[in-house]
Subunit: 169 residues, 2 copies
């Protein structure tokens, strides 16, 4: 008998899977740079358009959206990670730290947060959500947006990965 | 009192919101082509890398992932949409048709599908999921992957949109 979907189940397995897959995609990016004599730090600064964030920032935000989602829904302190990665390997470490944080939270600590009031103060505006709205219309879209954009930057840079690498498994 | 999260609530509001936002982003793409005298059909064929799908296909797949997800979880016939769009307006119609299909399904028709066996036969392999796995590790990642890639193509082509347009609201 399958359990009913919960906030934890709707969030953690899919997002963890995607971050793990992104780490493997980054490993292929590192190998590509090695083989083609490309400076990895130049690749990490690549952008799809001049006013978009570079690759390094896409990975950082994908991680931070997942981390912040878990912290806010569970009512935990949101650990601050420095944005100082300059190599693919360092970005993989950031993903690993993010996954370790996600794994430190039990289902019971997130489940039942559907109606919890979540207030986000952004530079330009304040957003107020229920926990359910926050998860389904902010956290999940943002994690996938930034993970996909990171993947697209690697893809555009010639790294040989496909959709199956993005999905993982 | 907020209801517990359900398969419907984890899927439909977020994905519908994203498809609606994508339609608005496409409208801005159409206006951009008009203002800059760009042939819209050329823009719809743009790609981030030669072996990636073009913009038109990214939008088609984003719609089809949402449509197929609803159909399979609800046990409905999956309506076939022809892949024949050549303008931004036609892609907006496809999104509208997809949203109409999604709205035709009631929560009761999707809820409780967590344990339903979903088998997908792809050209290269067969995937078997529970309904919950299918939703959280296949449908949702795929909808966001293709919606983000469509957005990224418009962004790279100079359309003035931002993250807020992607998220909608």
């Amino acid at each position: 008998m399958t359990q009913p979907l919960s906030m934890y189940q709707a969030f953690v397995p899919g997002v963890s899977n995607t971050l793990q897959a992104l780490s493997q995609v980054l490993a292929k990016g590192a190998a590509h740079c090695e083989a083609r004599k490309i400076d990895p730090s130049a690749f990490l600064q690549s952008r799809l358009f001049p006013d978009m964030f570079p690759l390094v920032k896409q990975v950082q935000i994908a991680c931070d959206m997942a981390k912040g989602g878990v912290a806010r829904l569970a009512g935990f302190d949101n650990p601050k990670f420095d944005d100082n990665e300059t190599t693919f390997a360092e970005l993989q470490v950031r993903i690993e730290r993010t996954l370790a944080f996600i794994r430190s939270v039990s289902p019971e600590q997130i489940d039942g947060s559907e109606g919890k009031v979540i207030t986000l103060t952004l530079p330009s505006r304040t957003l107020e959500f229920t926990g359910q709205q926050y998860l389904t219309t902010f956290v999940i879209p943002n994690v996938y947006f930034h993970a996909t954009t990171a993947y697209n930057l690697l893809r555009q840079g010639g790294v040989e990965v496909g959709k199956r690498d993005f999905l993982g498994g």
